[in-house]
């Protein structure tokens, strides 16, 4: 665990950057729900945030990021469409992650 502790600040910094990218993407999608570039960029950020949160033992953040990642994966692969309801869900998950990140 000591090994991981040395990287806590870098994790927090980069996780907050991932979150900012997700929030920026959500703003774009509210105006243009089929913006492929925004969906792709948000997917990459959610994927990375999930992955490194699990590595750092931040299970709750990882689980929330996985919900966002899975939803965006389905949208980008045309398995589902981005509804208003889904946007609200993604926004809520993002806000929960943001709150958790302030506690690290």
């Amino acid at each position: 665990m000591t090994d991981l502790f040395a990287f806590k600040n870098l994790y927090a910094k980069t996780a907050k950057e991932n979150m900012q990218a997700l929030k920026n993407g959500l703003v774009v999608l509210r105006g243009q729900s089929d913006n492929k570039e925004a969906i792709e960029q948000m997917y990459r950020n959610a994927h990375t945030l999930k992955s490194k949160s699990f590595l750092m033992g931040q299970q709750e953040i990882g689980d929330l990021a996985k919900v966002i990642e899975d939803a965006l994966y389905n949208v980008k692969n045309k398995k589902s469409t981005l509804s208003q309801e889904m946007l609200e869900t993604l926004t809520n998950k993002a806000l929960q992650i943001e709150k958790l990140l302030t506690q690290i």
Binding site: D3, L10, T14, A15, R44, S51, K52, F54
Partner: protein, 121 residues
């Protein structure tokens, strides 16, 4: 031994390059697939650790390019991702990767064992 880590996230770049450098490897880092292809030519690594979800060119596209230019015949590629779905792993192996490491689960001994076994083949 030279290892090229092709990974877009700064956290993972620093984390794994630090851990592997501590074990005596010479580490080079590329931040996306395009830069990775360029650095493979420049660095001539012994092993490539390749992320999949990246901007510009993803890991699958990099593997395709390395298959076409013959690099995979001489340089083993270990897919280094948290995209652990069986379908994705099989796709990467089919494109010429020699193995898969889930980077979300830090286990340096397991990673070193894989690197060592690949280096000996």
């Amino acid at each position: 031994m030279k290892i090229l880590l092709v990974e877009d996230d700064i956290f993972y770049q620093k984390f794994y390059s630090t851990k592997l450098a501590e074990k005596g490897f010479e580490i080079f880092v590329a931040s996306d697939g395009e830069q990775g292809l360029q650095m493979i030519e420049e660095v001539k690594p012994n092993i490539i650790l390749l992320d999949i979800i990246m901007p510009k060119k993803d890991g699958f596209e990099v593997l395709e390019a390395l298959g076409k230019n013959g690099t995979l015949k001489t340089t083993p590629v270990l897919v280094f991702s948290s995209l652990g779905g069986e379908q994705d792993v099989q796709k990467a192996l089919k494109l010429g990767a020699v193995g898969f490491v889930n980077k979300s689960f830090y286990d340096i001994d397991s990673l070193l064992t894989k690197i060592s076994s690949i280096a000996q083949t």
